[in-house]
Every structure is written in C-alpha cells, then in structure tokens.
Amino acid sequence: MNRINKKLQENKKLLSIYFTAGYPNINDTVTTIQNLEKNGVDMIEIGLPFSDPLADGPTIQDSSTKAIKNGMTSEVLFNQLKDIRKTVNIPLIIMGYFNPMFQYGMEAFCKKCQDIGVDGLIIPDLPVDIYNAEYKSIFEKYGLINVFLITPQTSEKRIRFIDSISNGFIYMVSSASTTGTQSGFGDQQTAYFKRIANMNLKNPQIIGFGISNHETFTQATQYAKGAIIGSAFVKHVTKHGVDTINTFTNTILN
C-alpha cells in the first residue's frame, strides 16, 4: 500500500509541511526532510522550484527564485533524494509546476520517483482533465498518487469528478487566493469547510493555503483530515535555517 494511503488511515489529524527544495541552501533538502520527520510532521511536500509559479505568493516565489539560483533542478533533486528511504519513512510528495517535469519527460520523472520512494505528485497547472486523458496510466504504472486541488469556486459536479479520479486525498485550497496571502479563517471559509465535509467524498481532504499557526491548524483540522503549511514554514527557514525546525513545529502542534 502507498505510504500516503497508509498514513491517511491513522487515527489522527495530519500535519503536512511544504518546503522549497534547495532553499535556503542547495544542500538543505535532505536535512529539512529528516528534521521534519523527527519533529512529528506526518507528510512532506517537496517543492521543485519553477521560474514562474503562478499559484504562489511572494514567499514561495522568492524561495523558488533563490533555489533555482542555488542550482536546483529535477536532476539535482533526484540525486539528493536517492538514499532518502534509508532514513525517512513518512510519505513524500513532490509539488511542482508542469513544465520542468514535461521537459524531464513525464514517464522518466515518474519512474525516478518510484525508484527513490516518492509517493505522489502535486502539479497545480496540470488540470485533472488533461491528466485523465494523457498521464493517468503513467502514474498508475509507477504507483504514484496524483493529488488534485479544489477551491471554494469549484462546482459540486467537478468536485465529484475530481473525487472519482483521485486515489489519495483532495487538496482543499482554503480560499480564492495564491499561497501565503490569508491570515485566519472567517465565516465564509468555515461554511465552505462544512459544505465539503458534508459531501462525504471517498477521498479524505487536507486543507492548505492560509494555515500558519496553531489556531488556523486547529480550525482547519476540525473539518478535514489534515492541513498543509507552506509559506509560514518557508519564512521560518529563511530566518532560522533548517536546524531548528522543532521551534516551528512545536508552535503548530502544541
């Protein structure tokens, strides 16, 4: 069974953390992953940086620009991760935009993920329709879970369609926004969280965008299986580096 599915069966609310690979320093990738697992994080999204990240706010854009300058590429990332399964057991997901994967070759990219022990991908600009028509069989061949996003504007019909294509979890974007732009959840978001929870989808939901502290993490996980933190964590490592991750995770979990 895929590590993501196994993790989703655990009887607890999940904390997933996004970080940009090769940031702040090119060789921080593996240390970041190891320290996140040590400090109680349940799942990790490894950000493969892209020059033009359309769905991201300034924090993740800046970290991506810096990581590319540091020399991060798909090839470098795969090399850094080649022994990761000797030390790390939690699910690992690569999150990145489509063009770098398309240039690598989608089949070669997926094969490499399987060899290394990456469990899934999140590709914000590969729509579910194109995935379904052109790439689904490749993902299945290499045992990878592809995670799709829904937003408050996604229609019920489309959510049902996305649920039928998904085989891991659904990434619920908390509001109409790019990453790192919200602070705190209002009535509108709570209503949206409840609406989705009441749809009884076959895939559990994990909420992302706008989760930055203990309060928002608790709010989100009242209605969903887990929550994803990205920009707030990237800000933390920008200031403090990757050796004191516990000071960040402690404020979220306790």
Binding site: L54, Q103, Y104, D125, P127, A176, T178, T181
Partner: protein, 393 residues
C-alpha cells in the same frame, strides 16, 4: 490541414488550457460563452460600431510606391498605426470589454510590456466606466514613462510587478495571480494571442478584422482578394494572427512571420522563439518557448518591448511546425534602420515592432509582380526616444 483551433482548444499539438484549478471556473465560463456571445447580433452591432466610430476603421490599405520601387515588388501597408491609441491592440480590447460586460464583470485587469496593450485596455475601461488595473514590470515602468502617464490619465491603476525579471512575463504572472485572488467579478484582458484556451482563439477573432478588410480593400484596388504574401511581426502574435486569419486556408497566399533576433540568434540576447524555443508550457498553454534544459523559462531580449516575450502564441507554433508560415528573424540594428528607411521613403514613422517586419525586405527577394501586404501594426511615437538614442538625432 486545419490551422484554426479545434474543439478541444488545440492547434495541432499546441494550445490547451494548462491552468491551476483556481482559474478553472473563470476560464471555463469564458470557454462556454465566447463563441455564443461573439455571434450575438447585438454584440456584432456594438463591436462594429465602435470599431468604425471610435477606433476609426477601416484602416487604410496603402500602396507604398517608393518602398516598392526600392525593393522592386508591390508593397501594401495595412495602416493599423492609424487606429485610435496608435496600434492594432485596440481591436482586441474593444472586443474583450464588450465580452466582459456581457459576462457581468465589473473589474478589468491586464498585463503590459511596452504599455501599448495597457493603454488600449485603460482606454476601453474609461469608455465603459469600468475599474482597470494594469500590471507592468517594474523595469518597464521605468523605461516606458509616457505610456504609464497615459494609463493614469485614463483612470487606470498601474501596479508594478516586482517578481522575477520584472518585465512582461512577470507582469503576466501577476495579472494571473490577481485573477486567482478575484475569481468572481474580474475579467482578464490578455493582450496577445497567448494564454489558456479560449484566449488565443478569442483574441485572433477580434484581430481578424485586419485580414477581413485587406481582402475587400485589395479587391477594390487590384481586383483580387488574395495577395501573394502577408507579413507581420510576432511577439505573442496578435497582429500576426489578425493579418493571417482569413488567409490561413488560402494556399496561394504565403505567410511570413518576423521575429526579433535581438543582438543575433546566437548572441544569448534574442527573442527568436521559433528558432530558440522548445515545446513547453507558459501562461496556460502548450507552445514553443525559450527555456533552460531543466524547463525554467528564460528571459528574452529585443530592443522592442512588444516582441520581448519568451513564448509565441500556439497558433503560430503550429504554423511554424507545419511549415505553413515562413519564420524570419531580424536583429535590433536591421529593425532600427528599416524604421528610419520607411520614415524617409514614405513619411511614416513605424513602431519598432513593426520595423522588424519591414526589415525582412532586406533579406527576402520578391518578384516584381508579387503583391506583399505588411501589417503596419503600430506607430513610432512611443519609440521616439529609442530612435533618438539609437541614431543620435
């Protein structure tokens, strides 16, 4: 061979809608409605009326006698430079503002490089009384001050794009991010034949008035609708799309696309996408784009801000790949000299973008009887400082 968009939004292998889920409702709303709206008699009536009374169409088709003598062929200039706001850009913004109104949108966003599309968007927003926000790279804001002032006079808010290289590509990213953050009340007026389906097709349809007019104007002047060649400069490719549209399936009409070579194809400072680009995804569509081997989008260079884009519209990528269009690339130096030449021979100062199309005559020989129509896509007022600096006038 079909050169138009197919029902799935592709031109051959290029096009499509590679967009984050956050944009899906907006783009889907447009896709479902754009053909229906364009076909409505009420839309057609208002669009044509505004093109005539506000833009000043039809734009003349002018036989350039002295330029023709110089290159020993028959050159006709389609005078889009005489449109209100000085370029072809307004054809598209008129169409899209009418589209936005019919979709109930109250807030308009746009990206701009040199500022021509920004001015054309700010103009139609003033005309319709709609809020207008234009994203422009911080570097472009500094080097295109007159157009920034124009947009402000027209009531638009100009927002600096501070990310990445702070030019057109990044302004487009910021406009897309704005749309993600404002998914209900906002329409994004893309200025070129790029972006997710249906944008390339919609922009092409609004610019198609250019070749529609060339057909009857040529018929009036020389007794036949089809020239031997149509020529246009290409950045994203909106003026080219309009110039080619009604000739795409006329095999006796040659299509010539002129890209910006910048300092030279092999100089590392170029925008010749058909030569330097590879298939990839940019701003929501699959097309040819300039990128590193790892798939990071690279920064192009051209003296002309309007051609300074790392991609090309998917229709043009298809025309290049199938060989339907011949692609030529022209350096900064050749373009500047062609601009000066047209000024002296015909009394018309062209935009530097357009000068690239004119410089093609230096390298390509036509028969004396060939009829060659060049889209004179914009006027040179906005480029005066560039011409002054270059020629030390």
């Amino acid at each position: 061979m079909n050169y138009n968009v197919d029902e799935k939004g592709y031109y051959g292998e290029f096009g499509g809608a590679y967009i984050p889920e956050m944009l899906y409702p907006n783009v889907e709303e447009l896709r479902e409605n754009y053909l229906k709206v364009i076909a409505e008699p009420d839309f057609q009536k208002e669009f044509n009326q505004l093109l005539k009374d506000y833009v000043g169409r039809p734009s003349p088709l002018y036989f350039a006698k002295r330029l023709s003598e110089k290159y020993n062929t028959k050159i006709y200039l389609k005078r889009e430079d005489l449109n209100h706001t000085g370029a072809h850009k307004i054809n598209n913004t008129i169409g899209q503002i009418l589209m936005a109104q019919r979709l109930g949108k109250t807030r308009i966003i746009a990206e701009t490089g040199a500022g021509q599309h920004g001015v054309a968007t700010a103009t139609v927003c003033a005309l319709m009384g709609l809020e207008c926000i234009v994203y422009m790279g911080e570097i472009d804001i500094a080097r295109q001050a007159p157009n920034v002032a124009r947009m402000k006079m027209l009531g638009a808010k100009v927002v600096a794009a501070l990310s990445g290289s702070r030019t057109l590509k990044d302004a487009t990213n910021e406009a897309i991010r704005d749309w993600i953050n404002n998914p209900v009340d906002t329409h994004y007026i893309i200025g070129s034949a790029i972006g997710p389906h249906p944008y390339p097709d919609m922009v092409t349809r609004f610019q198609a008035i250019v070749s529609e007019e060339i057909k009857w104007q040529l018929k009036e002047q020389i007794g036949r609708e089809n020239p031997d060649y149509v020529v246009a400069c290409i950045g994203g490719g909106s003026n080219a799309a309009g110039t080619y549209y009604h000739y795409l399936h006329e095999p006796d009409v040659g299509i010539i696309a002129v890209e910006a070579a910048g300092l030279g194809i092999d100089s590392g400072e170029s925008a010749a996408t058909s030569v330097l680009g590879k298939e990839g995804i940019i701003h929501g569509c699959k097309t040819l784009l300039m990128q590193t081997k790892d798939g990071q989008i690279t920064e192009p260079y051209s003296i002309s801000a309007g051609l300074d884009y790392p991609g090309v519209g998917p229709m043009h990528a298809h025309l290049a790949k199938t060989g339907r269009a011949e692609f030529v690339s022209i350096t900064d130096d050749d373009a500047m000299n062609a601009g000066l030449e047209l000024s002296k021979l015909e009394g018309i100062i062209p935009a530097i973008e357009t000068s690239h199309a004119l410089a093609m005559f230096k390298y390509k020989t036509f028969k004396p009887d060939d009829v060659v129509v060049v889209n004179l896509s914009g006027r040179g007022d906005k480029d005066l400082q560039n011409y002054i600096d270059y020629f030390k006038i």
